[in-house]
Symmetry: C2
Subunit: 513 residues, 2 copies
């Protein structure tokens, strides 16, 4: 008898466990249908994409265009009837900077306009610079002597080690079933010890010190401008490390990044003893009226008595680099997130938890917007102090890998979510989204949440023109795959909805004291 009772008890416990871990993942298929229908029939993707890229333009941190974009997105949220719309400062960022004029052309041995862009936060030139170009090759401090007194008013370039090779593989790609299967695998690297030898590390340190001294030397010699080569080819120019937006206003060099082939041409001409003359002009405007950084926030308030103080966040960064219009990086993410919340709002969803969209500022300089938000409202990753929203946020969803379709999601190692997300993705298998991987993916705003133990996710996306175009002058409207973004907005809307309605917050990885 006793045995029998015990067995029944086990069955009962098993039943409870089963019902708690599976029953609550029942997906509201009617709502999924509505989301798909609204997203495909009444998509606003094209209009949002146009406004954010073509009309707002490049949205460099601190720039006038980023200010315009904050304003425009906030107004759009108001227009849609979202609640608690605000442009919320998280703290200080630094100086704003706008390009007012940029021109560069070779004058001798023949006239040729060059593709070039002022480096972000560079100083302007003193009007039009007409100068020969000097190739400054400094291998040690002893080499300073060679150039002393010879560089005043000159345009200079340092030798580059960059080169370009033909593209034998396609730039755009759909992930295959095999790719996706491989992406599930979590590889644990063996501890192989230091990546660099002590000698190599010392060499790198010495090089950094020398680089700094070279920069000071060039500044003291009064050069007119510095030319930098960049990654990219065929007219695509990747941005290199930026100048300084620091409010300390340290003097820096006027600097222009030019197309690899154009840089190579000048370098080869100089190395072959030819004289190269350039005309160049950079005019910039510094914005010193507001050093603060901001995020744009808006909500669909929760309606469940108990759950409404809890939050589901979706977001993407609004800022971009400055020579394109930040289309794939990251107007695409912003548009997808805006469209996702528009779909939910249009459907009149009354979510149990509050749904909040956050458009982050200053991601490109170090996730400043999302980290600032987390620091202000969620928790301190250094001290591990928890703040008000720490135990209220169920999940944060982020899109920042271009405009390619969503094919699955990265769990940031949180195994507990496999059965949850597998269930949630089921209605989207036929749209190509099905892969749940335990893997981490790095380097964007979800990391700010993950760093304080709050579930933050980024999606697996098809790599369509992303690697080739992000952080370049060619990250423009045409890069955005609007059909793919329609799919992504639908899936994000569904994920957000499911998170808002779920009985429990999403399970977390252990964190904190």
């Amino acid at each position: 008898m006793k045995l029998k009772v015990q067995f029944s008890f086990i069955l009962f416990v098993a039943f409870l466990w089963t019902s708690s871990s599976f029953a609550q993942e029942n997906v509201d298929l009617e709502m999924m249908y509505k989301i798909k229908t609204e997203g495909t029939r009444n998509s606003q993707i094209q209009d949002l994409a146009f406004h954010l890229t073509d009309l707002m333009g490049p949205r460099l941190s601190g720039s006038t265009n980023l200010r315009r974009a904050r304003q425009w997105t906030a107004e759009k949220f108001e227009e849609w009837g979202l609640q608690n719309v605000k442009i919320d400062s998280y703290g200080e960022f630094g100086r704003g900077w706008d390009v007012k004029k940029s021109y560069i052309a070779m004058k001798t041995p023949y006239y040729a306009p060059l593709i070039g862009y002022p480096k972000a936060w560079t100083e302007g030139t003193n009007g039009l610079v007409s100068s020969e170009v000097v190739l400054v090759d400094i291998q040690s401090e002893a080499d300073f002597e060679k150039y002393k007194g010879k560089l005043s008013g000159k345009v200079i370039m340092l030798p580059t080690t960059l080169s370009t090779t033909p593209a034998f593989t396609a730039e755009a790609r759909r992930l295959t079933d095999e790719d996706l299967e491989n992406r599930k695998e979590v590889t644990i690297n063996a501890a192989t010890g230091a990546r660099y030898t002590p000698a190599q590390i010392q060499q790198m340190r010495d090089q950094r010190v020398l680089d700094q001294k070279v920069n000071e030397f060039l500044m003291n010699e009064g050069i007119a401008m510095k030319l930098s080569g960049t990654r990219g080819n065929f007219g695509t120019v990747f941005h290199t490390r930026a100048g300084s937006y620091s409010t300390a206003k340290n003097k820096t060099l006027p600097e222009m990044e030019i197309a690899l082939e154009h840089f190579g041409r000048i370098e080869r001409l100089l190395k072959n003893g030819q004289t190269v003359n350039l005309d160049a002009e950079i005019e910039v405007e510094w914005l010193d009226d507001d050093y603060k950084g901001y995020n744009v926030l808006a909500e669909i308030p929760g309606t469940d008595k108990t759950l409404k103080p809890e939050l589901v966040l979706l977001g993407a960064h609004l800022d971009s680099w400055h020579a394109g219009t930040g289309a794939n990086d990251n107007a695409a993410g912003v548009v997808v997130m805006m469209e996702a919340i528009r779909i939910l709002k249009t459907l009149g969803v009354q979510p149990r938890r509050t749904i909040r969209i956050a458009l982050w500022g200053e991601e490109e300089q170090g996730l400043f917007g999302s980290r600032g938000y987390v620091q202000k409202y969620v928790g301190d990753r250094q001290t591990q102090e928890k703040k008000g929203e720490w135990d209220k946020i169920s999940a944060y969803y982020n899109v920042d890998n271009g405009s390619g379709k969503i094919r699955g999601i990265y769990l940031e190692g949180n195994d507990q979510l496999v059965p949850v997300f597998e269930k949630w993705f089921e209605p989207f298998h036929e749209m190509g989204a099905k892969t749940i991987t335990r893997r981490n993916t790095g380097s964007t705003d979800h990391v700010a949440f993950d760093a304080v133990g709050v579930p933050g996710f980024q999606f697996i996306q098809d790599p369509i023109d992303y690697g080739k175009g992000y952080h370049t002058n060619m990250d423009l409207y045409e890069r955005m795959q609007q059909g793919d973004m329609t799919q992504a907005a639908i899936i994000v809307a569904a994920m957000v909805y499911n998170t808002a309605q779920r009985d429990l917050k999403l399970p977390r990885k252990p964190w904190g004291k």
Copy 2:
């Protein structure tokens, strides 16, 4: 008995036939070895490539740079000890044209430098143009009324139908064995009748008439500049149809070709009711001191008493489009041909027939250089009149498909050459060159010779960055695959040598009256 004699006679004839068609294709393997060795050990490809692209710059027909390049190549031929070096005029080409300044940037809704180039032989603007952009959409003459009196001093654009899609296939490719095998196949198209219906043809004619009227209208209204969208993307700008180099000096519009994405941005902004202001400037210089077109010629004279008046020609066009430096189109071909003759000269070859290199002018405007040469020295393709060199030229070899390896040769339908070239290519199988195809290939200088029944050949080449870069601003030094060009120069040198030494001229297709 009679039968037996007859049989012996047949055998004897068969022997003669065999010996004449095979024995004479014995290849001088020692010379092939020397050519390979000189071409690989002492290659001048890099130096030639640098000079022709970086240093000479773009070599638009009639331009200062093309004149410089003619001079430089002629001097190089003299330096190598070639004979009968001359810059030979074939007749009139037209006006020369140089760009002295080119600048274009969007001013509102925000500042953005644009990638743009003056259309070849366009007029300059009247200094810096600061203007709003007007999208002029004229579907019929009735639409002129809408714009009358409103365009003076404005920058205008016509709507474009161009668009860009992600590259799901690689831009650079090695031809596979299967590709090469397929290329041997000659497809004969069934006569399916007219490609266009009479209605379609009428529509195209009407459109051409309307386009002309629109252009006249814009000119009469006094627009400041016209913007054109172009093929290409990611910063690569293809050249569209050129302006006029005619000595009639008909007035044309100042016109700039801008990157597809930049054109698209302005067009979308205008279609969405936004105001777009531009700053733009084109300064050009017309060269009216010499309207003639020229080819650069040089020789290694023949040494065989009987055969030395006969000729083997090798060539490539020296001119290019104007926004790149004409690297793959066609500095690559020029460099390969120069290197090929340098190899033969350096080896001290005493050819039976005279070897002549020809660097053609004005290919891009309609094979003017090679056609002019043929008209002057070889034959008239209209009247079929034969001139002095008609029965002296054994073959003309051309390279104009970029810098990719030679993989074989097009026979232009001349079946008789299969056994000859199969034998000649044997020593180069291990370099990837082996495919003899009866196919035609079009549109470059060998066609000028083929048109008068003189054997003219172009090679099968690997398509490395050619389709993506030719006729663009990005056809620059980096496009040239110098390892591949080394291979090509060796093979061309061998083909030219074999042609010069062969007992008979190469067999021809029937031609003429």
